[in-house]
Symmetry: C2
Subunit: 457 residues, 2 copies
């Protein structure tokens, strides 16, 4: 069966590329109110692709943009049911002049398609849709049940996703969630991402005097909110770059030796990494490698500071107010609520007298790690091996996907992340692209995934 499916995929590559481009031509920018109809148009485009090959699909309306639900229906055998999650909405274009091609006119350059959404996530999610279609058309059906949840609000924080899932819990029931919204390790090496960090985003606002004061007339008599902010932020790390918030590491899971060795075995060049970030040198928590620091160790970072006189030149004031955005990335088993509280308590404890310090939580999401012995993950590895002709590496991700712990909690399902784009595909930036070769290999990998899940090795 799989051979017929692969033949079908092979024979339709040109057509598949044309269809992906048509999808990319719809400017479905979810954050732009003027694009509301285009967003809906993209949802309908997804809907029609499913309907066109006999996969039952429907729009689920929300107060914002609709989600598309699809279902290939009960399958023969007792293979698992998977839920493919993806999104059809895209990021804004940003500064138009930085694009070398039209963001919504997909353009082939050096074997890649340049367009907004090509990597994130239209070009990646359509691989699963086209693989399911191939199974339908070439094999008459799928050996496992595949459901799809393709939302239109991922780029604005999925505000209605929880409600959609809760209201359609039975319809979305599955053994694994599968998503292609991550990347390979690099241009050559396919990967499965098995862990993401959690995120707590805080804003610290410090107020002192009732108005900006003359720093000469009043200096030395009142607590300067700027000095207070520095003291608070500086107190968050010790001299070994470990986070110094009491209790911060209490629940952090020690990395198993096997996993540590596997991470150490990944190809890594400090010179390349340094070139990518452009810092004078690399640093971080004592006793860990760069990849461990990025992927498996929790962090605290300043995202921004502001307040007082910020323009060119000089103004001699004691600012009445300053603030900072500070975020933490969490790892298992750091509970966002507990860690948020530890952060708040620490800030208040180290705050000097003479100022008022307020801490607000702007975002909070948990980390996610997929068990490495999950049968679905084993099948995904085999699928990539067959789709790419080489085995994937297993890696983690320092970023946060709040939907993963949400799926785990609401559907009881682990998530499997197979990404076909490259790390420097400019997602969210100008000149986003997706390799055509990865697109074709992605479709084949998705077809193989269905095959291997039905017949796990």
């Amino acid at each position: 069966m799989i051979n017929a499916v692969l033949d079908h995929i092979k024979s339709r590559e040109t057509e598949s590329l044309a269809r992906m481009k048509a999808f990319l031509r719809i400017p479905s920018i979810s954050t732009d109110p003027d694009r509301k109809e285009d967003v809906r148009k993209a949802a309908h485009w997804v809907l029609e692709l499913f309907n066109g090959c006999g996969i039952q699909a429907e729009l689920v309306e929300t107060p914002g943009h609709p989600a598309v639900l699809a279902d290939t229906g009960p399958a023969k055998g007792d293979g698992p049911t998977i839920l493919v999650y993806g999104h059809y909405d895209v990021q804004p274009v940003g500064e138009r002049s930085l694009w070398r091609t039209e963001p919504f006119d997909p353009t082939e350059v050096d074997g890649a398609i340049f367009a907004r959404g090509s990597a994130d996530d239209k070009g990646q999610v359509i691989t699963h849709m086209l693989a399911a279609e191939a199974w339908k058309k070439a094999a008459g059906g799928l050996p496992i049940r595949v459901k799809f949840l393709i939302e239109g609000e991922e780029e604005i924080g999925s505000p209605n996703l929880r409600t959609v899932i809760e209201s359609r819990k039975d319809a979305l029931k599955c053994d694994y969630v599968v998503l292609s919204d991550t990347s390979k390790l690099n241009w050559d090496i396919p990967a499965i991402t098995y862990g993401t960090k959690g995120l707590i985003y805080k804003q610290i606002d410090i107020t002192g005097p009732k108005q900006d004061l003359h720093s000469g007339a009043f200096g030395g008599t009142v607590t300067n909110p700027g000095n207070a902010l520095a003291r608070i932020i500086a107190s968050m790390h010790d001299s070994k770059n470990r986070v110094a918030i009491p209790g911060f590491y209490d629940t952090v899971r020690a990395l198993p030796d096997a996993e540590r060795k596997a991470l150490a075995a990944l190809p890594y060049s400090e010179a390349d990494y340094l070139k990518m970030v452009g810092s004078p040198s690399l640093h971080g928590e004592d006793g860990y490698t760069t990849n461990e620091r990025r992927w498996v160790r929790p962090t605290v970072d300043v995202n921004g500071v502001f307040g007082g006189f910020m323009a060119e030149g000089q103004s001699t004031i004691i600012p009445k107010q300053v603030g900072a955005k500070v975020s933490m990335r969490l790892v298992p088993d750091q509970d966002p609520e507990t860690l948020g509280r530890l952060f708040d308590e620490h800030v208040q404890r180290v705050a000097p007298p003479g100022v008022n310090v307020k801490v607000r939580t702007l975002a909070s999401a948990g980390p996610y790690v997929c068990p490495l012995d999950l049968p679905g993950l084993v099948a995904a590895k085999a699928a990539i091996q067959d789709g790419y002709g080489k085995p994937p590496v297993l890696m983690r991700e320092g970023g946060t996907l709040p939907i993963l712990p949400m799926f785990k909690k609401l559907l009881g399902a682990e998530s499997i992340m197979i990404g076909f784009s490259v790390p420097d595909c400019n997602l969210h930036g100008p000149n986003e692209f997706f390799h055509i070769d990865d697109f074709y290999k992605g479709i084949r990998t998705c077809a193989w995934l269905v095959h291997h899940l039905a017949k796990p090795r």
Copy 2:
């Protein structure tokens, strides 16, 4: 002789007030290019007042606004020569809607004149001009030689003053500089300000990665410029709020017991002060009073911080760059150049690896303290006693007047600061005012000053 002068002043009060108002009607905003002609008009107004009573005066042109030089000429006896310094330019109006009266239509409200420049400095410097005129007209001349240097660029940092002084050094030769550009201690208590702090204004710019990085993807692997900035600023004070820059206090002159006692004897209400600043509580360097902290102890203050994501909401970045404005107020004998160097060295020493830290100097000026046993100061005390009917207190000022060390250096003359305005006269803000009673008492005090300098007690 002094009685005839005082009678003359008394009989001309209404006329003097009208003349002061005429002076205030000229919108001589030195920073506003559109007001260039008005600034010159104010210079000519000053010139004509001198010429009108037979005091030789001239305009000294500069690349900017002109200065007015005047000289009453050699006097009988061997009394000292004084140089009255003041400025005829004014600050911009600022937000017009905050003014309750027209800024350039002097308006009497509750015994005060409300107008831009009424306290800073037109209304104050004209007291000396009118006193000299009274001596000329009522006594036929002055018992000491009085020179005037009234510039038009004080509110833009006196960019050409040094050149004016250097080019007219002989003409400006004097024993004391006298200026009325400060205030009384409060509404009831006249004062002589005998010390000002120096100022060093620094900008710290910290760069790390070549662009803003995703705090999830890269967090923990590079030094975050925001965390680095906090560490640097926090390192500038210890837990007792003393400045922790090595060498910072090395040359600070210990306050003589007598001076400390005198400052302690000044009327002071912590409740009033706290109400004025509006902070939750007062704090500062351990072991010193609020007035000592304001006036005689050096300080380091953050004036502003900026960088990274500063808008509403959240953006999870490691900022590529952050910065801060930090200033120091210096006291005798802190040398601005040495202290600036100590600051720079400290910043580089505590800066963590992985970032580039640059420090720029935006301003640098020395402190000034007038010897308390200066004969001119003794005469000034007597003049205020006679002009106000009560003795002045001696106080210092936390702000900086770069002209004072400049006069000391270029002319070898100490400066005597007698101010007639009140501390909350809104100078530089909306609704600036000067009490009419202080205006009249000010003229009398200036007349008495000439008298007492000629016959020092």
